[in-house]
């Protein structure tokens, strides 16, 4: 086996990754809280026409245009081709490096949206940077609607040959050609296995 480029990357715990669900507060867990959900129930009277699930549905079904966190959730579970960790855990993908133009609040209808993702390879000579970039691009294409355009790049200065890599990733034809390559496609599929 080829020697890995970075044998010892720093890894984030799953709980340290940015997520939307963290904002929900957990109920109190005291010794006395056994009957809390009975006696302090949000919906005390569960019979009849006024549907009991209304409040929950309200929260769940609220309108929420695609934002940076959504993009992060789509691409952070991609596996690294070298390590048994995800791109999120290795901080290759970082929430502040994802940008959408126009921002969610200003979006109207089916206008074009450009998603810019800056990747940070774990070492600046990473030979698999192109593959990782390709995987991110491929994942976004598979999961976002046709009015989205993608710009996947290496973050400035994070890679010794970022210009070259960016050029490759920006070239539609080369990307399409790469996806025709069975070996490369197999590798991408493997990396995307961890995405649900």
């Amino acid at each position: 086996m080829r020697e890995v480029d970075n044998a010892n990357p720093s890894i984030l715990n799953v709980s340290q990754l940015p997520s939307r669900s963290r904002k929900v507060t957990t109920p109190r867990q005291g010794p006395d809280s056994k009957c809390d959900n009975i006696v302090y129930s949000k919906r005390p009277w569960l019979c009849g026409s006024s549907s009991s699930e209304d409040e929950d549905l309200e929260e769940e079904y609220g309108e929420d245009p695609v934002d940076a966190q959504d993009i992060y959730d789509l691409i952070s579970p991609i596996s690294d081709p070298e390590h048994p960790h995800t791109l999120g855990q290795l901080s290759v993908v970082q929430l502040p490096d994802i940008h959408l133009t126009p921002p969610p609040a200003e979006r109207r209808g089916d206008k074009l949206v450009t998603v810019t993702v800056d990747l940070t390879p774990t070492v600046n000579h990473c030979s698999l940077a192109t593959v990782i970039g390709l995987a991110v691009r491929y994942r976004l294409e598979q999961t976002l609607p046709p009015n989205y355009r993608f710009d996947v790049r290496m973050k400035d200065g994070s890679h010794a040959q970022d210009d070259q890599v960016n050029k490759q990733l920006g070239d539609k034809e080369r990307v399409a050609a790469a996806l025709e390559n069975d070996t490369l496609k197999g590798m991408l599929d493997k990396m995307l296995e961890t995405c649900v």
Binding site: P44, W45, E58, P145
Partner: protein, 1148 residues
């Protein structure tokens, strides 16, 4: 003779086991007949002789043939061995089939048995190939005969020993036969005394056996061999030299393991380990060999795996526990054992081996202390504890080893009451010294943990004082206690006051230990010289402790939200637990907690409380309820006179009084008021659970004949009693103290008290401030909980059926009204409904319970008639109202809701009368008036799961297959009517369709699976209906689409193949639904979102179930549609779209 010969021949020639068995039985019978002749031993001896001689022809061959010759004539020889073995097997089999008493104690027969033994015994010398199995079997049979004499046993042993080296060449089964023979012989008291007599301590036979069996490896045989060895060691008195030989024989197997085998033999490695362990622990005479051997094995260091280490430790423990005369057998090795074991704990990391080591050390202490009946010289134990103390004392000042050293000391000191009484003072003293100069907060915590553990173990020792030797209790009477009592002022209090203000998490860990320690300290009991039990700490100290902890409990309420930033409530939780422990023994304590808490609550202004204050109030009330009501207090004497006499309900009573006193907190803050009723509900749940745990679930059965009317008793009390209950018990003292904590009467009285409180609150309740819906719901649920806990008879005698409708309020018509008429009046009253959905929901719930409640008695019974009238009233009401144009759709919705729920209660119990109502409902739904649509859509309520109202806990009557039953009558007849056709009214068919879907939506798949064909046609129509030319209102149309999609999801999960013929329609239908519902519409947002999500879910599930060829033609447009669905404004819908898109991406 000839007969025996014939049988023998047949036996030798036979191959089948049953045939052989038959022959041996015949032979046995033949023998029995002849031996039954009284006093004719000669005759019987002839028969036996004939029988023995019947196998002669095969035997003689053997004898004439030498082994060498046989080798030359292999084939013939093998044949001979086989037939010879069979011939001997015939003899052995006959003996086995023979009644054991046949060979009666008779001189002649004894000689016969002797001869037989001689004959079979000789086989071990001469015939190693053919004779052993049969002879072993025969000898075992002979051994069990009555004529067997002990000296014959010796002969058998001697004979068998002659096998020598050839023993291990025998098959495992043959060896098993022999091992069993040996075991029976050594276990036979007569034989073993004979052996003792003959061999004495030299035990020659034992050495022979050891030699014979030295290389056994078969697990089944080993199990018996180890039993024999144990027997040799325990029942014979072998000399030290012989003991050593025996020891070598079994210790060679240690540590034993078992290779896993494909054919299980019913013996586990654990069984073998146990058997070897039994050999080690068999007798103290093994001690000089066992301990050094085991210690040497243990000291091999890293070479020993954890499993082996644990095995060694358990074996040492077994030895210590089993050996008698510890002075000679254990004491000489203690130093060595301790020397090896202390590092296992001090530096050990593996929990299993640490635990096993601790067990060994505890076993030593217990052994040296003595048993239940006999106590050893106290110096033995003292020397041992001194040894441990000497080594561990200094480690307590080293934070790295504090925990481990403490564990070691705790183990040896608290292993026995004697050890505890002698050493706990000095132990605590050392800890105290170290606590004065702690090295770090963790050090303090570990030391406190140690003190707490001592206190915890003391409780255990105290509880078990009567189990052991009478001396133990005596020791406890005279134990020194001042050092324990002073723990509060010397140890806990200074640490608490020193650290209470710090918020560091390490310091908070220390405080948690202090809190738990205080709880344990107050729970300590002591024996006075008369043997009476009382609390160890004085009332004054207990009071001080309660106050100290209550401050922490109440603190969050006293602070403002800015001051209380701490998210970590674990210290407060531990304080709560400690307080609960405290007031279980120090019963005055709860009053000392409630008083300041109540004051603090009242001090605050509750007119416009902040969210923080409300949360603090809620938590405080919840904690107070838990502290006082989650366990039943115990009665222990204290040095101060209690404020009230003991009663198991004392805390509960005090808490209820506090709640009554606090309610309402303010006329404005409805939430704060409702919290008081929530905690009332919680405390009833807590106390009921405590009663169930203590007295069992069936404890109330013994009071089932009670015909008391508690409510009438309550009426006798002065009207102001409830509101002025402050300061006095609700239960009169003489009632409260008339039963003890173990008396199930507590449970009954608890319910009585709860009923009183619920009634009291209800009397003051109304729909205006300070009451709120939340408060009323909590009160209602509490009342339901109390009432349903009561026995049926008691419910009747208290007339609760009527009270339920009058809400405990005394009204003028009360004396004459029967419960039934009150109920009927309530149910059939439509005036209080209006168009409020809330009122309708509540009435609907009552209606459902009402129609579910009465048992289906005789049709003429008054109950049944009332029920029928109620049901009829509502169905007819709907039938008439649906046509009336006076009723707006809001009110009509309310009525339908009540009507459907009322009928649903009867449907759940498959009430036959419902069948008469169904046509009326069908007709109402098909009515051309717009309200008919409401009826059609509400039809699903009839089979809707309604577990909040109808559940097992509330004794609801729910038949297992009621949905199937309802489906048959409610839906089946409608399929034809719902099919569109030119001759039908489109409105009516649409209504029928809605009705079907709304019912099926609430049924499991198995209910409707037989009608999938017709159903799918309906579903497809529902999905493809054009929006504009629908005869339904938009709301109804959407609801119908949702129901259709939900049913499709259900079908896809259960029988997806049914959809095969409808794929095109379903794909185009769901696509259409998605596209149509992708418009923004504020009022229908939720419905439209559900439609989009479900349609994507159905669409996405298709590629997972159907092969590509069925879907290929739809692939491109569907994928395009799904791609744009990935940009849906709602996140959940996007998720469904992505998953569907990924599934469809594979269809190419």
């Amino acid at each position: 003779m000839a007969q025996f010969k014939q049988w023998a021949l047949e036996y030798v020639l036979a191959d089948d086991e049953p045939v052989k068995l038959q022959l041996t039985k015949k032979a046995a019978k033949g023998k029995r007949h002849s031996t039954r002749l009284p006093y004719d031993s000669r005759a019987s001896s002839t028969v036996v002789g004939n029988w023995a001689a019947s196998v002669h022809q095969w035997m003689t061959l053997t004898h004439s043939n030498d082994d060498d010759q046989l080798e030359d004539e292999d084939e013939r020889a093998n044949g001979d061995i086989v037939s010879r073995a069979k011939a001997l097997g015939f003899l052995a089999g006959t003996l086995e089939a023979l009644d054991k008493t046949i060979l009666r104690p008779d001189q002649g027969l004894t000689i016969l048995v002797q001869r037989l033994i001689g004959f079979f015994g000789a086989m071990f010398s001469y015939d190693h190939k053919a004779g052993i199995t049969a002879s072993a079997k025969a000898l075992r049979q002979l051994y069990s005969m009555k004529n067997f004499k002990p000296e014959m046993g010796i002969k058998v042993l001697e004979d068998v020993s002659k096998l020598k080296e050839d023993f291990r060449l025998q098959t495992a089964v043959t060896r098993l036969e022999l091992y069993e023979l040996f075991l029976s012989l050594v276990e036979d008291p007569a034989v073993s005394s004979e052996l003792q007599h003959k061999y004495g301590s030299s035990c020659g036979f034992a050495l022979d056996l050891l030699q014979l069996c030295s290389s056994e490896r078969d697990p089944r045989n080993l199990m018996i061999w180890f039993k024999i060895i144990r027997r040799l060691l325990t029942e014979f008195s072998p000399s030290p030299e012989v003991t050593e030989e025996i020891f070598k024989a079994f210790s060679a197997y240690f540590p034993i393991s078992l290779r896993s085998s494909a054919t299980p033999i019913g013996i586990t490695a654990e069984d073998l380990k146990e058997a070897v362990r039994n050999c080690f622990s068999s007798h103290q005479r093994v001690a000089p060999f066992a301990f050094p051997f085991l210690m040497q094995k243990l000291d091999q260091g890293d070479a020993v795996t954890v499993a082996v280490k644990v095995d060694i430790l358990r074996t040492i423990k077994a030895c210590i526990e089993e050996y008698e005369n510890p002075q000679a057998s254990v004491v000489p090795y203690i130093k060595k054992i301790w020397g090896s074991l202390k590092y296992e704990v001090r530096n050990g990391e593996v929990k299993e081996s640490i635990d096993a080591t601790i067990e060994v050390l505890r076993a030593i202490a217990r052994k040296l202390d003595g048993s239940k009946t006999h106590k050893h010289e106290v110096t033995l134990l003292k020397n041992y504890i001194d040894l441990v103390f000497g080594d561990c004392k200094d480690d307590l000042s080293n934070p790295t080893y504090t925990k481990q050293a403490g564990l070691l000391l705790l183990t040896v000191v608290t292993a026995s009451i004697k050890g505890y009484v002698f050493y706990n003072a000095s132990f605590i003293d050392i800890i105290r010294q170290n606590l004065r100069q702690p090295k770090s907060p963790t050090h303090t915590r570990d030391l406190l943990l140690l003190v707490n553990s001592i206190l915890k173990t003391r409780i255990e020792l105290f509880k078990n004082r009567k189990v052991g030797h009478p001396d133990d209790e005596e020791q406890l009477r005279s134990e020194p206690r001042t050092h324990l009592v002073s723990l509060f002022h010397d140890v806990y209090l200074p640490i608490w006051t020193g650290k209470a203000s710090e918020s560091d998490s390490k310091e908070s860990d220390v405080l948690k230990q202090v809190a738990l320690g205080l709880g344990l300290l107050v729970s300590q009991q002591a024996l006075d010289t008369k043997g009476e039990v009382s609390l160890l700490c004085s009332g004054a100290i207990c009071f001080e402790i309660c106050n100290l902890l209550t401050v922490t409990l109440v603190k969050p309420l006293t602070l403002s939200s800015n001051d209380n930033q701490s998210q970590d409530a674990t210290l407060e939780d531990d304080v709560v637990l400690a307080l609960r422990t405290i007031i279980m023994s120090y019963t005055d304590g709860y009053g000392h907690i409630l008083k300041p808490a109540r004051k603090e609550i009242q001090k605050r202004d509750w007119t416009g409380p902040s969210e923080y204050s409300l949360e603090a109030l809620k938590i405080l009330l919840s904690r107070l309820a838990f502290i006082g009501c989650s366990e039943i207090p115990t009665q222990v004497k204290s040095d101060t006179e209690p404020e009230h006499p003991y009663s198991p309900l004392r805390h509960y009573d005090a808490w209820l009084r506090t709640l009554v006193y606090l309610f309402p907190l303010s006329a404005q803050s409805l939430t704060a008021n409702s919290y008081i009723l929530s905690s009332l509900h919680a405390s009833v749940i807590w106390f009921r659970d405590a009663c169930e745990a203590r007295y069992g679930t069936g404890a109330l059965a013994q009071y089932s004949n009670s015909d008391k009317n508690w409510l009438a008793e309550f009426e006798q009390l002065p009207g102001t009693f409830f509101s002025q209950a402050e300061g006095q018990s609700i239960l009169p003292d003489e009632v409260a103290s008339s039963f003890g904590e173990d008396d199930p009467e507590t449970y009954l009285q608890f319910l009585r008290l709860s009923l009183f409180i619920v009634r009291g609150f209800y009397k003051g309740a109304n729909s205006e401030a300070p009451w709120s819906e939340q408060a009323l719901v909590q009160l209602a649920q509490t009342a339901a909980l109390v009432v349903r806990s009561l026995d049926e008879k008691l419910q009747v005698s208290c007339n609760l059926a009527r009270e339920a409708f009058s809400l405990f309020k005394t009204s003028e018509d009360k004396p004459c009204a029967s419960p039934l008429s009150v109920a009927e009046k309530f149910i059939c009253d439509t005036s209080d409904l209006g168009s409020s959905p809330r009122a309708s929901d509540i009435k609907a719930a009552v209606g459902a319970i009402y129609s579910n409640k009465y048992p289906a008695g005789p049709a003429a019974s008054e109950e049944y008639q009332t029920l029928k009238r109620g049901l009829e009233f509502w169905t007819n009401y709907i039938k008439n109202a649906v046509r009336s144009s006076d009723i707006d759709s809001g009110s009509f919705h309310s009525f339908t809701n009540v009507a459907m729920h009322t009928v649903a209660g009867a449907v759940a119990r498959q009430e036959k009368f419902v069948l008469d109502l169904i046509p009326i409902l069908h007709e109402a739904a098909a009515s051309p008036s717009p309200n008919g649509e409401i009826v059609a859509r509400s039809m699903g309520i009839l089979v809707q799961p309604n577990s909040e109202v109808l559940n097992k806990e509330s004794h609801a009557n729910i038949k297992r297959f009621y949905k199937q039953w309802a489906y048959n009558f409610l839906v089946r007849p409608l399929y034809d009517l719902a099919r569109p056709g030119s001759d039908k009214d489109p409105k009516a068919t649409a209504r029928y369709s809605i009705m079907i879907l709304s019912v099926i939506k609430n049924c499991p798949f198995t209910v409707y699976q037989d009608d999938l064909e017709s159903l799918l046609r309906l579903l497809v129509t529902a999905l493809s209906n054009k929006k504009d030319d629908s005869v339904l209102s938009e709301e109804a149309a959407q609801a119908q689409v949702i129901a259709a999609l939900e049913i499709l999801v259900d079908i896809l999960a259960n029988e997806p193949s049914a959809l095969k013929g409808f794929l095109k329609e379903i794909i185009s239908g769901t696509t259409k639904v998605y596209q149509e519902s992708a418009t923004s519409n504020k009022t229908l947002h939720k419905t439209l979102t559900t439609c989009r999500k479900l349609s994507l879910q159905v669409l996405g599930a298709l590629p997972k179930t159907f092969e590509e060829r069925y879907l290929l033609s739809f692939s491109r447009p569907t994928q395009r549609m799904l791609a744009s669905a990935c940009g849906d404004p709602v996140r959940k819908v996007r998720e469904a779209a992505r998953s569907a898109r990924a599934n469809w991406a594979k269809v190419v």
